[in-house]
Amino acid sequence: MIQNIVINGLINGSIYALLAIGFSLIFGVARIVNIAHTAFYMLAAYFIYVGFQYLGMSPYVAMPLAVLAVGVLAIICYKLFIDPIREHEAAVLIATIALAMVIQEALLIGFGGHYLGVPPLIQGYAEIVGVKVTYQHLLALTVALMALFGSWLFLMKTKLGLALRATAQDREVANLMGMNEARVAMLTMGISAMIAAIAGAIVVPLFVLDPHMWMHPLIMMLAIVVLGGLGSMKGSFVGAYIMAFAEVLVVFMVPMGSFLKGSVALSIMIVVLLIRPEGLFGIAFEEER
């Protein structure tokens, strides 16, 4: 049973981590609480479905195209809906809720409430220490870990990554140093949406597509970033695995209450916050700033 918990926890944790890191990035850099973040994740999944099902594309072609398309769309949305009201944080929050709802309703009109799916890229399963794991899950884990590593490399080793981190540290000083803060925020929006889209591309062969599929990951993602410390990438990473392992533990330890897995994970978040209100890495993050 321990093997099951480890393997399932790693896979779910990696997908949550991808979502949470993108969310943290845009919050850290631009102070935008982007509720539409998981709607972009959903949108990528639908783009891939359309490319595969209607346009006859190979999923290998549809996936990068979808990630790119979501990035561009996110930048357009940013310019149209967020940029004009950026100084009003509450208004931005509400605007992103509205944006997510618009995406949801548009998909509902376009595809109805039908549950859709994309076949796995690789068929079959492997047995790892006696646990059956589908190749698609292993692929998802590998791609998620690669994407996480790629994000880290991008932030730590590139000029743009440095600009993002500098802006996250202090917007005003970054501006004074000649960085175009507004442009950095716009790019960050695109990049964070693309990270969410990668998560969408990873899950599309595993999950069922429906216009409400953005809700559950949104709740988990918000819980993860709060648990890890708002805006802290390291916190998001660690928080994602804590939440994922908590969920998997519930399924294995309390099968009758497997529907409670989300609630238990959220309860853990509350307990952590009671002990450490700033989240796991909140102080470190504040110090960084």
Binding site: G112, G113, Y115, P119, Y125, K132, H216, V248, F252, S258
Partner: protein
């Protein structure tokens, strides 16, 4: 001059009162409100079934009432009840007060239908339920006939009978597996989505399976919208279950079937899986849902002489097999027959005619019982068991059950990987 004004005024008031109080007298068409979650498959089934029936009736000249023949006009009413029960109450109010529908067919979620039923009854509108299975909806007719006599249910069968069929299917598969794979005592894993409607089924299963000679190895209750059940499936495999007794009405049915087939879990999946009733199930699971067995209302077998023709017409027209909410097809036909017999649009005259209904419908012989519920049993509506066999949803039950076998029914097939697992 004053007198003439007075006469005109009285005539105007009279005309107004007559047109308000007796709308049916002035009707030149019969308006039927088709109410359901129109953005979802269930609502589409409601609308499609009713559309086919209305077109058939109108093609023959409409509903004969006296010397006139009135065409049927369907009004699409989106209840949005999947997402919001209050939306459903607003929708039915709108249908009655703004669209002035004469009758209503449809409804899906019990919580929403209970409220909609009250509104329809208050307005003395005949409402034929085609989606919610809860017994309470029909028990109300018996408890307070004068108020609820305008309610009838055509589909699905009462949830008590759904459970009965559920256990018959489980018993059938257990028998086949025990015989073909030499399993002395069948072990069953109960997997039911965490929803109110599934709770009694879990309770009954836990109580009854030991009496049926089976062992319950565990109960798993994933969320109705769970996107990953690999953890549950791993735990089930470890429990040594031979059969997974499923109770799903939501998207988790697809997730479960997809991952069950992908991981080749060595246990047969039997029970209720609403998503497996649809043609889209095969594509949604990428074919991994093969060998899933579920209760169903329609299958392309000769349940009655009308079934196959209806099934083919429906599929040709809507590119989808009819689901149980497409029973609105029967509801509209029953209404039309009753209106002709009553020769009136007065609901109090139509209700007695509907109570006498005995129709060879597309899902079986339709007769209402004393609670205005569709009668279940051999030679009435039975429901069917359908299993996905290589891309086709085949009818596997009834097969020699109470002397009933529908022409076109095939034997149940144990998933090959389950057979392989027991041969090793």
């Amino acid at each position: 001059m004053k007198k003439r004004h007075m006469v005109w005024s009285i005539l105007a008031v009279f005309w107004f009162v007559v047109s308000i109080c007796f709308p049916a007298w002035a009707a030149d068409e019969i308006k039927i409100g088709v109410i359901g979650p129109m953005q979802f498959t269930q609502g589409e089934g409601h609308w499609n079934g009713a559309t086919l029936a209305a077109e058939e009736i109108n093609k023959k000249g409409g509903v004969q009432m006296g010397n006139a023949s009135l065409p049927i006009k369907l009004i699409k009413v989106d209840s949005n009840e999947f997402l919001s029960v209050p939306d459903a109450t607003n929708a039915i109010e709108l249908a009655i007060s703004r669209h002035n529908v004469h009758f209503l067919v449809g409804g899906f979620r019990t919580e929403a239908v209970l409220v909609m039923q009250d509104i329809a009854m208050d307005n003395k509108k005949i409402f034929i339920g085609c989606g919610a299975a809860h017994p309470k909806l029909c028990e109300r007719v018996k408890e307070d006939y004068d108020t609820y006599k305008y309610w009838f249910r055509v589909t699905p069968i009462n949830s008590r009978f759904l459970v009965k069929v559920d256990f018959i299917l489980l018993g059938m598969v257990a028998k086949i597996m025990a015989k073909q794979l030499n399993i002395p005592k069948i072990k069953v894993a109960i997997v039911a989505e965490k929803a109110v409607w599934a709770d009694p089924i879990v309770g009954i299963a836990q109580k009854n399976l030991p009496k049926m000679g089976m062992e319950v190895v565990g109960v798993w209750r994933p969320s109705p919208v769970a996107t990953d059940v690999t953890a549950e499936l791993s735990a089930i495999q470890q429990s040594g279950a031979n059969i997974i007794f499923t109770t799903f009405s939501s998207s988790v049915g697809i997730t479960f079937a997809k991952q069950w087939g992908e991981l080749k879990v060595p246990a047969a999946a039997v029970g209720i899986n609403v998503e497996a009733q649809k043609d889209g199930f095969w594509a949604a699971t990428g074919g991994k849902g093969n060998y899933t067995l579920t209760i169903n209302t329609y299958a392309r077998v000769k349940i009655t002489d009308a079934t196959i023709a209806f099934f083919d017409t429906y599929r040709k027209r809507f590119k989808e097999a009819p689901n149980y909410t497409a029973g609105t097809y029967e509801a509209v036909h029953i209404l039309a027959d009753a209106i002709e017999k009553a020769d009136s649009l007065d609901p109090d005259k139509i209700v007695p005619m509907m109570e006498k209904t005995d129709r060879m419908g597309t899902a079986g012989r339709l007769v209402f019982d004393e609670t205005h519920d569709v009668t279940w049993g051999p030679r009435y509506v039975t429901a069917v068991g359908t299993q996905w066999q290589n891309g086709k949803n085949m009818c596997v039950w009834p097969l020699n059950w109470e002397g009933i076998t529908y022409e076109g029914t095939v034997p149940y097939v144990i998933p090959p990987w389950v057979v392989d697992a027991y041969k090793k």
